[in-house]
């Protein structure tokens, strides 16, 4: 598992990268009431806002952590957005393929580094 400064977690099986938000981010957001997911097949750029999360407090965006293509989204979140608050590490948002995944993820924070990042 790798982590971004935007509080996303990335899990790669070598071909496909699964992306979600961290427990820390879910706690900061508060109770999630609505999630808008990208369309499967969409070509995305790193940094592009592709998911909208609305909590009781406010709307936030999630950016694509990589250049690539969305290959699957977690439809269960659309029906039950509260899953993010119940278990953020299990409530994945989308899966993507990316030609640069291996290189980019190599430079991302591991769990210990992310914990330090959040504490600072």
């Amino acid at each position: 598992m790798k982590y971004t400064e935007e509080h996303e977690w990335l899990d790669s099986d070598g071909a496909v990268v699964t992306v979600g938000i961290t427990e820390h981010a879910a706690t900061q957001l508060g109770d999630v009431v609505f999630i808008e997911l990208p369309e499967v097949g969409r070509e995305v750029k790193k940094g592009e806002e592709i998911v909208v999360i609305e909590s009781v407090k406010a709307a936030s965006d999630i950016q694509s952590p990589l250049d690539g293509e969305i290959v699957e989204v977690n439809e269960a979140l659309a029906d039950n957005p509260g899953l993010v608050n119940e278990d953020a590490e299990a409530a994945w948002f989308f899966r993507m393929t990316s030609p640069t995944a291996e290189d980019e993820m190599g430079a991302m924070m591991d769990e210990d580094a992310y914990k330090e990042f959040v504490e600072d």
């Binding site: 109770d31 009431v33 609505f34 609305e54 909590s55 009781v56 407090k57």
Partner: protein, 347 residues
């Protein structure tokens, strides 16, 4: 904590959703000391205030309060407030962000009266079905108070100025307390099993479900009280044909709108999907329309309703379905009655 009107205010303690639900089920304590408490003292203060407020101030019996609006010459709203008759003075409770502007208006227009913005009292709100039990544990006499009563009750060696009112749609109290006693009183209330501290986030979602306007969003200098659906606050005696008709800023426009109806009105809005429609969402008559017909002025998720709720301005008479532009998509939203949550006051 966020800055607001010169105060550091908590957005949430345990979380907006659980805090909101706790107020509806038990009782919540809000620190609303940022609000302005203004004493108007002197012979004929009630009569003089009718030059500024379109409500029957003379008709407020001692020990009672009433919702009122500070109007502008063109009919817009400078602030909304509570005005109480406390015997030897009138007490106004005004919005924190507007209190200094309100003081300028009050001082200019009431030169023969003593107008004082109190700096030595805090304001706590205790709201929810168990608010009476929690406050009565400290001040037993509050059980006898009815909705919109005001009274002074002694706690320890302090005079508490208590009103049975609030901004949540629940039964409850607002308690003006000398600064030195504010923290001890807050701690004593929080020690009650039913009471939790509540932040600004839940204060906003509670008042939204209760259909209450927020000054600066749903009420502004560009919106008249009649457009805002607050005509009920203007008693007959101040309307056309009444014994003390008009005589307040904007009376011509406001009284005409009361008789003929306004061009636009504040309505409730129920987005049909799950996506909240927040402040600033433009409303369209159909999915392709080029020009909007209205705007959302407050919107979010209603924890008690269990769905997104909003309020906004649309042409008078609009019913049925409108389309809100949410991030470039037109989503259906039903025009609905306010409030979304029926108030439970002790009348």
């Amino acid at each position: 904590m966020v800055p607001f009107a010169g105060y550091a205010m908590p957005v949430q303690f345990r979380g907006v959703m659980p805090e909101h639900l706790h107020v509806r089920e038990r009782a919540g304590l809000f620190d609303v000391s940022h609000m302005g408490q203004v004493v108007v003292r002197g012979e004929g203060a009630a009569t003089a205030l009718e030059r500024l407020l379109p409500v029957s101030v003379e008709g407020i019996a001692e020990g009672r309060q009433r919702y009122a609006l500070l109007t502008l010459p063109d009919g817009g709203v400078a602030d909304d407030l509570m005005v109480a008759n406390r015997g030897d003075h009138m007490l106004l409770v005004v919005n924190g962000a507007m209190k200094h502007a309100d003081m300028d208006i009050l001082r200019a227009d009431l030169p023969e009266h003593e107008v004082t913005l109190l700096e030595d009292r805090a304001l706590l709100a205790l709201q929810g079905p168990e608010a009476e039990d929690a406050l009565a544990a400290l001040v037993p006499d509050v059980r006898a108070m009815r909705f919109m009563d005001v009274a002074t009750h002694r706690w320890q060696d302090a005079d508490l100025w208590i009103s049975r009112s609030g901004y949540t749609g629940e039964d409850g109290f607002e308690i003006s307390v000398p600064l030195a006693h504010a923290e001890p009183l807050a701690r004593a209330l929080l020690a009650h099993d039913a009471v939790e501290p509540i932040g600004l986030g839940a204060r906003d979602s509670l008042r939204l479900e209760a259909g209450m306007p927020l000054y600066g969003q749903d009420l502004t200098p560009e919106i008249t009280p009649v457009e805002a659906g607050l005509g009920w606050a203007l008693q007959k005696v101040r309307r056309r044909g009444g014994a003390r008709e008009g005589g307040f800023p904007g009376a011509d426009r406001i009284l005409a709108e009361l008789e003929n109806g306004p061009a636009r009105t504040r309505v409730g809005l129920r987005p049909e999907g799950r996506a909240p429609m927040r402040q600033g969402t433009m409303l369209y008559a159909d999915p392709e329309a080029a020009e909007p017909v209205g705007t959302v002025t407050s919107g979010g998720f209603g924890p008690t309703v269990g769905a997104p709720v909003a309020m906004g301005y649309v042409p008078a008479g609009t019913t049925g379905t409108l389309w809100g532009d949410v991030r470039g998509k037109r989503l259906p939203v039903a025009v609905a009655d306010l409030p979304f949550h029926q108030p439970r006051y002790k009348r």
